[in-house]
């Protein structure tokens, strides 16, 4: 219960920071999205179930706070990314900052492709492909940059929760 509460709190704070602050700072149309590395990190460190649950919750929260689109666009893409990351549970050594970054890079690209597919299915407009690909790559680089830090944060929370029990 305390774990769920702790992660809910972290999710809410990260989602708020993303919606209120990070979304304003755009690099070639891409903005830092810490919720995605968070879902990837949860999948890798805690398994596919946690990755899927955190992914869908993070995505839905993002859909709610960021406004505009239908609820579930980000929810669906982050659900898949979180779950897929869980398939590599504990096989990525997070002490090496490069591995979380690579995992997040791939996860972001997957998430972005899913976002485009979902957007097309629900009838949302999709910008030109060349711009989209550039934005995806920049988005992946930005997310990868903060992934090692977020992974360590998740592990610190886990260590603390285990110590309390």
């Amino acid at each position: 219960m305390s774990r769920a509460l702790a992660y809910t709190g972290v999710l809410v704070v990260v989602a708020l920071v993303q919606a209120a602050w990070l979304a304003r700072v755009q690099v070639w149309g891409a903005a830092l999205d810490p919720l995605l590395p968070f879902a990837v990190g949860m999948g890798i460190l805690r398994g596919a179930e946690s990755g899927a649950v955190v992914g869908v919750a993070a995505g839905l929260l993002q859909d709610l706070l960021s406004g505009g689109g239908p609820l579930g666009v980000n929810g669906l893409s982050k659900l898949v990314v979180g779950f897929a990351s869980g398939l590599f549970e504990r096989s990525i050594y997070i002490e090496n900052p490069l591995l979380p970054a690579i995992a997040t890079f791939v996860g972001t690209l997957l998430g972005e492709v899913l976002l485009v597919i979902v957007a097309l299915i629900v009838g949302l407009g999709v910008p030109s492909w060349s711009g989209l690909v550039a934005k995806m790559i920049v988005q992946a680089i930005l997310n990868s940059a903060i992934a090692p830090l977020l992974f360590r944060g998740i592990r610190a929370i886990e260590t603390r929760l285990q110590r309390e029990h």
């Binding site: 708020l16 899927a52 239908p70």
Partner: protein
């Protein structure tokens, strides 16, 4: 076996969540805005929106401060550029004013040149005698230009002095205010003859004026043409004070020179035709 159950459980959870999100998405597809937040969503938004709005306000404040900071930098650069422009324009304006003033002075000299029966030679003042009050000055015309000793020197305003020393390219002019200077003069209104002497002061001394002469401050004093240096009728100055002492046969007066002797830049040297 346990692994298989766990895998199935994982897949079940994933598919359950996937189905949930797909249903959520399709349920909204029919709505005109393609977005229906629902009761739970509204509840979450009611809780989080004030926090998000507060955070957005902070971001706005920081953004405004950043804009202000960059604006200050931009304004500094612009200010420096404008200051440079103002300085350049001020220099240009001073230059143009100087040219206009010189043109005005030269125009008046030309007028005088056409009025006098003498041949006139324009000269620039290139040096002053700094050791005494307005004693002498140096002009850039000499014997090469035909300048001779005792040639009268004037401006459009009046008499300046006479040449006392000539080299090939320059001449030294003794100003009428110098104590060595004496010019035969005439009070223009009363036609009384006198002599204007310098005192090495700003003003001149009108001497040997008959006691019966009806002179008063404001009277114009011109050269008399006597003495053989200055031609008749050149303006010397204006009487500012008349001095009549008890028992004296003659009276004296103080004369303000007509030419601005302390600000001379161009002069005319009068030469016989």
């Amino acid at each position: 076996m346990t692994e298989l159950i766990a895998a199935r459980r994982r897949m079940a959870i994933f598919l359950g969540l996937f189905l949930f999100v797909v249903v959520l998405l399709t349920s909204q597809a029919r709505s005109p805005d393609r977005r229906q937040v629902g009761a739970i969503g509204t509840g979450v938004l009611t809780l989080l929106m004030p926090v998000q709005a507060g955070m957005a306000r902070i971001a706005d404040g920081v953004g405004r401060m950043w804009e202000l900071y960059t604006e200050i930098g931009r304004l500094r650069v612009e200010n420096a550029r404008l200051r440079g422009d103002v300085e350049a324009l001020s220099r240009k304006m001073a230059e143009l004013r100087e040219q206009a003033a010189a043109a005005q002075r030269l125009e008046r000299l030309l007028e005088l040149r056409s009025q006098t029966a003498y041949r006139s030679l324009a000269a620039h003042v290139v040096g002053r005698d700094v050791s005494r009050w307005f004693g002498t000055l140096l002009v850039d015309r000499g014997s090469r230009d035909g300048v001779r000793r005792n040639a009268p020197v004037v401006t459009a305003d009046g008499v300046v002095g006479r040449v006392i020393e000539v080299t090939l390219t320059t001449s030294r002019v003794l100003l009428i205010v110098d104590s060595r200077s004496a010019v035969g003069a005439l009070v223009q209104r009363s036609r009384d003859l006198a002599v204007v002497e310098g005192r090495s002061e700003r003003t001149l001394h009108l001497k040997y004026l008959s006691r019966t002469a009806q002179v008063e401050p404001g009277d114009l004093v011109v050269t008399s043409g006597q003495g053989g240096v200055f031609p008749k009728g050149l303006v010397v100055g204006r009487i500012t004070r008349v001095v009549q002492e008890e028992g004296e046969y003659l009276q004296e007066a103080q004369v303000e020179p007509a030419a601005a002797l302390d600000r001379l830049e161009e002069v005319l040297i009068l030469l016989p035709r």
